[in-house]
């Protein structure tokens, strides 16, 4: 009886020590959950969720502070993925959050631009090229469509242009066909 007790407690102690050691030794840098959530977010960095970028929103979701339905560019698909990851129910977009818009890129009317650099400072992904008193232009392939450059422009020369659909970007639709009534 006593030997059994001793053996069991020895094992418990040894395992506990091993666990404690590995918890310190193999500590994961950063918060893996935040990174997983951030990987789902679209990285538009638009702040429409009420946080200053995708990573802060991911951190807020991870800490349970924010809901999963606040990212319009991610669309319902994004909410669904977040719900899957976190094991919670899908939640449609609330009233306070605008729904998703068609993907667009910013466009600078280069005749009107005065070269004030305000939009360059606003762009979260450095997708605007230009210098003080020089005309600015958008690098369309890098633009995430966050709209953050639109408001700061003092001469209102930036507009959002929806990306046109071309044969190159077109997708096959979900098949639609008639179903026979099932008796």
């Amino acid at each position: 009886m006593l030997t059994a007790l001793l053996v069991m407690s020895a094992i418990a102690l040894a395992l506990g020590a091993a666990l404690g050691y590995s918890a310190i030794r193999l500590k994961v840098e950063g918060n893996p959950l935040v990174d997983k959530i951030d990987a789902i977010l679209p990285q538009t960095q638009c702040g429409q969720c009420g946080y200053p970028g995708c990573k802060p929103y991911a951190a807020a979701i991870a800490s349970g502070e924010a809901d999963i339905n606040r990212c319009p560019p991610g669309g319902e698909e994004g909410i669904r993925k977040l719900a899957d990851l976190l094991g919670v129910e899908f939640k449609p977009f609330g009233n306070e959050t605008a729904g998703p818009k068609p993907k667009s890129v910013a466009f600078i009317d280069e005749n009107v631009c005065i070269g004030c650099t305000l939009c360059i400072q606003a762009c979260p992904v450095d997708a605007i090229a230009g210098a003080a008193k020089q005309m600015h232009t958008i690098i369309a392939s890098e633009c995430t469509g966050c709209e953050l450059c639109v408001a700061p422009c003092p001469v209102n020369c930036i507009s959002m242009v929806p990306l046109p659909q071309t044969p190159q970007t077109w997708k096959w639709q979900y098949p639609v066909y008639t179903l026979a009534p099932v008796k």
Binding site: P42, Q43, Q45, V125, P167, W172, P175, Y177, A180, V182
Partner: protein, 554 residues
């Protein structure tokens, strides 16, 4: 006789080959307008090098290959470029794309046609010529030939397979080509053999084309090229399926024939290579079968850009009760109602539809999991499972079932007793997955750029803070001169500088100018003048020294 193998599944749809295979190839006359889409190949669109108003010659470059995967587009006849603008193209989306429109002048004046001595040309140069000649896979896939035949040094090709199977119902263009132009095809094959240097070369032709087999056998006599008659079974013409039948080798899932030492190319592509290399003619025309509900189904050699309704008129016109067209075969082709669409490099067949020939499918029923589709699938997939996951948009799961091995052949649709359009689901799922991959790549780029920007802003802030701290320190120091006098330059440093200057001077003095003896008086005068100019310059520099320095300190 070669031992043949079987691929999994396959079906026997009605062949309908005899309608159009009886008549010889006819040359289609010049149409009033030619519309050349700038994207007639897989990859990125070619870039136009002509503008509206330009006069072009037959075979002149209209658009050059742009980007890694692309191929050139040429003028099919001489005439005037009316526009380079959006126009209707044969694409399942029905969306317009960039096209060059040409009004023929009727003179058919060629550019200078230079033939190539392909044996003397380096292979890399020959590949560039293929790209600039607009050669793509003419079996329907339109994969640029210069990429297919671009082998890395480590890649050895054992077998070169020429695809003359033409397994889709109704189509007979390769059949007629092999019957009438076998010798030219073989010349093209020789060029491809030169490029890849295979141990064996096989031509696979379905046994429902005996004349084509005979013609090719005759043309291939004493060349070492073997012509194999293979059983008629849809889709033997699929690249992987044909390779399996001829060599018994399986292309691994997600891999290419290259990985097992095989390359596969269409016989029509070999013919086009021959025209380019031996005649100097880029791809400006192709054979098109016009069949279905027309009076006299036949094959035409049509210029690219010819409207499809012009060709149906040449075939005696559409019979009453016709509706719409199929471009390609009935199993994999593109259905359209627009008769103004142009013939492009992938258009091997135009079928005029009628409700009698192609009755509408009865309404679909739920899947009963009979697995007939799995029995028919030539890629050995489980279409009923793929369908289940595609319907649920479960794109992670569907990949595990090898969705991307599906060749969209439609064999599963054909056998399904519930008439479910399975292949449509697979196309949908594939394009969704591709779009998602594209999006996540864009998100990764955005994340990287965002993080870099954050890092940069942080760094700038720190640098500014440091500078400010230094300035404050300096200001503090200036206010208390006694406590910290502005350090005069260390005397030892100055001594060292002085020493270095002396040394340099001594060195300069030691060097005697060369070639100074035996100078003509004129040269001596010139040297003296130059010395004087130098001295003057030195003087000036010294005079400006002080203001110059103060400027610098500013």
């Amino acid at each position: 006789m070669r031992a043949l193998h079987h691929f999994h599944g396959g079906i026997h749809p009605e062949e309908h080959k005899l309608e159009s295979s009886g008549l010889p190839i006819a040359r289609a006359p010049l149409p009033q307008r030619l519309t050349l889409p700038l994207q007639q190949h897989l990859g990125s669109r070619a870039k136009a090098v002509v503008q509206a108003g330009d006069r072009v010659l037959k075979g002149q470059l209209l658009a050059r290959a742009e980007g890694e995967m692309s191929a050139a587009v040429h003028a099919p006849t001489s005439g005037l470029v009316l526009s380079v603008d959006l126009g209707a193209v044969p694409h399942p989306s029905g969306l317009p794309d960039l096209c060059a429109t040409i009004e023929p002048d009727g003179e058919e004046r060629w550019i200078e046609r230079a033939t190539l001595d392909f044996c003397a040309l380096p292979k890399a140069e020959l590949l560039v010529r293929l790209r600039d000649g607009g050669i793509v896979g003419l079996g329907g896939a339109t994969f640029p030939a210069h990429l297919k035949f671009d082998l890395k040094p480590a890649q050895a090709i054992r077998t070169l397979v020429l695809n003359g199977a033409e397994c889709e119902p109704w189509i007979t263009s390769d059949d007629r080509l092999m019957r009438e132009r076998a010798a030219e095809i073989v010349q093209g094959i020789e060029i491809l053999r030169h490029l890849v240097n295979p141990a064996e070369t096989l031509v696979g032709i379905e046994d429902n084309k005996p004349q084509a087999i005979a013609a090719m056998r005759q043309a291939c006599a004493n060349t070492g090229i073997e012509v194999a008659a293979i059983p008629t079974l849809y889709p033997t013409g699929g690249e992987k399926q044909l390779i399996k039948v001829l060599t018994g080798k399986e292309v691994p899932s997600g891999g290419y024939p290259l990985h097992i030492g095989v390359l596969c190319s269409n016989v029509a592509t070999a013919y086009a290579v021959h025209r380019l290399v031996n005649c100097g003619e880029p791809v400006i025309s192709r054979l098109v079968t016009v069949t279905g509900n027309v009076r006299t189904p036949q094959n035409f050699e049509a210029l690219l850009g010819t409207p499809i309704e012009d060709l149906t008129k040449l075939a005696g016109g559409a019979l009453p009760g016709s509706a719409d067209y199929i471009l390609g075969g009935p199993m994999m082709g593109l259905h359209t109602s627009n008769g103004r669409l142009p013939v492009v490099k992938s258009t091997n067949c135009i079928i005029v539809k009628s409700p009698q020939l192609f009755p509408p499918l009865p309404p679909a029923l739920p899947c009963i999991r009979c697995t007939r589709c799995a029995d028919a699938c030539p890629a050995d997939l489980q279409p009923q499972e793929l369908y289940w996951f595609a319907q649920a948009r479960n794109f992670d799961k569907i990949r595990n079932y090898h969705l991307f091995d599906c060749i969209e052949c439609g064999a599963c649709n054909y056998v399904c007793p519930s008439h479910i359009p399975l292949a449509q689901y697979f196309r949908f799922a594939k394009s969704e997955i591709r779009a998602l991959e594209h999006e996540s790549a864009a998100a990764a780029l955005a994340r990287e750029r965002y993080e870099f920007r954050q890092m940069r802003i942080e760094r700038d802030k720190q640098e500014k803070a440091e500078k400010l701290a230094q300035k404050e320190k300096a200001a503090l120091a200036a206010r208390q001169p006694a406590a910290a006098p502005v350090a005069p330059q260390d005397s030892s440093t100055q001594a060292r500088i002085q020493a270095a200057l002396e040394r340099a001077k001594a060195q300069a003095a030691a060097v005697t100018p060369k070639n100074m003896d035996a100078l003509t008086p004129q040269q001596q005068a010139e040297i003296a003048e130059i010395e004087a100019r130098r001295a003057r310059a030195r003087e000036l520099a010294q005079a400006q020294d002080i203001p110059h320095n103060s400027n610098n300190a500013d």
